[in-house]
Structure formats: C-alpha cells, structure tokens
Symmetry: C2
Subunit: 168 residues, 2 copies
C-alpha cells in the first residue's frame, strides 16, 4: 500500500519531468539552436554514428518509415547538411552522406549537461544514473517484447552524446 503511493508519486514526478523538459528545450532552443532527437535531428545523429547509410538502413535503425526518412533526408539536403549519392553496386540505393556543414551542425549542437543536473551531488548523480538505468533496461525489454522489429537499441546513442570523454 505504502509502496503503491510511493510508486504513484515517482511516476507523477517522472511525468512532470517529461513535460517540463519539453518546455525547457523550447526555451533553451531559442537561446541556442540545438539538435532535436526527432526527424532531421535523428537522421543527423545516426549519420554521426555511421556515415553513408542508405535511407533504408536509416529507417530501420531509427525505427521510422522509409517515407518519413526520405522526407527528412530531403529537408537536410535542402539545408546542405547531407548529400545523396547513388550506390554503385546497387543503383536503387541512395546513400546519405554528411557534408562538412552537417558534421559541424552536429558538433556545434553538442549537448551540454543541463544546469539542473549539475546541481546534484556526486552521490545523487550516481543514484540517478542507477535508477534511470534500471528503468530504461526495463523499458527496452518491454518495447522489444511489444515490437521486436523496432530499431530501438539505437536510442542509447542519444544518451552517449553527453559523454564527451568518450568521443575520440
């Protein structure tokens, strides 16, 4: 019983955090443009991980329809952040390649640790990472059970964007 209330409280806080972080993002975005982990941003992030992917590969990795992928790629082409080149081995395939500008867009949008995270103590940070890890592991399992074809493993990549230490 007591446990039930605690769980509701935690779930509520989690929901509140999610809502707030949308607003937070909007505000921060106005100050300094930053990559969203949606649409075009997703594509860029995937290409940062591995360049010269086909649209089909992108779609699979990102768990979205090839049509949507094509749309975002097209928008990125218009913004000169990627180019398309026909594969020589299979001329149906349109390879998506980051341009210098595209690469720069990713770098310059490098995620900064938000201030509200910085204000936690060492111990608290450990606790938070531990708890969130427990939660995300369970989520991956649930999502995978519901839809094994979803390219969801990919999302770990978004998390690693914060880890500057690990980049080169």
């Amino acid at each position: 019983m007591a446990n039930e209330i605690k769980a509701e409280l935690a779930a509520g806080k989690l929901a509140e955090y999610e809502q707030l972080s949308k607003i937070y993002d909007d505000i921060v975005k106005q100050a300094r443009p930053h990559l969203t982990v949606e649409g075009q941003g997703k594509i860029l992030l995937a290409l940062a991980d591995e360049d010269h992917l086909s649209q089909r590969q992108l779609a699979t990795r990102l768990g979205m329809s090839p049509q949507s992928t094509s749309e975002f790629v097209y928008k990125l082409v218009k913004r000169d952040l990627v180019t398309l080149t026909k594969s020589q081995s299979d001329r149906r395939i349109n390879l998506v390649n980051l341009t210098t500008a595209g690469r720069q867009a990713i770098e310059s949008a490098d995620q900064e640790v938000p201030p509200f995270v910085k204000l936690l103590s060492d111990d608290e940070l450990d606790q938070l990472s531990f708890l969130l890890n427990k939660i995300t592991v369970a989520m991956y399992a649930d999502i995978d059970a519901a839809n094994p074809t979803l390219g969801v493993k990919f999302h770990k990549l978004f998390a690693s964007r914060y880890l500057k230490q690990f980049k080169k």
Copy 2:
C-alpha cells in the same frame, strides 16, 4: 572531474529515458488509448482541474496561443467531449465545458503507474522522487526566469494525475 563524468552520465540517461518514453507511449497507446499531455489532452486535463474556463484562460494556463487553444477546443467539440457556451456576463467569452463523455474520457484514461516504475523498491522510489523533485524545482525556476508569463505551474497537475489517493 569525476563529478563531471557522473553528470554527463546522468544527463545521458535522462535523455535516453525521455526518448524511450516516447516510444513506450506509442506502444502503450496502441494497446489502450490514453490522454496525451498535449493538444486536446492538455485541454481536457485543464478542464478536469477546473471546468467552464474561457479559451483565453485555458490558453494562459497551458502556455499556448489562443489560436491553438481554439483549434483543440473545436476538435474536442467535434468529438463531443466538450461544449461551448457563451458567457452571460461577457458575451465575447466562449466558456468551455466538459460533457459527461469528456469527463469519462479523462477518468477512463486515468494514468496507470508504468511497470518499469513498479519494479523499483520502496527506497528506490523515494530516492527517485527526491531526485526528480530537486530537478523539477530547478527547472521551474529556470523556466520562470526565462519566461515569467509562461503558465508552467500548471504542469504539476499532470503529475498529480497519478495520485489516485488524492482524488476525491
């Protein structure tokens, strides 16, 4: 230094959680329709808190433009979840009222504590709530500093949806 890495790790986990929860929502939504805390859902939630608000009031509380508010209200009217009645004291005002169906939609969509939260121990739930509270408090402050007019306090309401105990 060590602290910096811990912070990056936690920030990354937080980002990963947010991404995953979008996907999680989509999957859960297919199984059982549920209110989103966006658009029409936001309106319903606000009305659940206080019925018979003007569109202007809704817009202010929800921190969105009156035009968007009007759009969502109109969609809800078409779905017979709310009705519009002209205010008698000020005939410019169109009051938005929940219908029985609207009220039911809110109740029946009552949030359930997600399984991944339930799997935490009592202590872990306490820790998580504490940490998230610390974070959200800081977020409220930052958001308010950036844009004091934003009706952001409202979002606490979303959190309270989980607290069945507290409802009537």
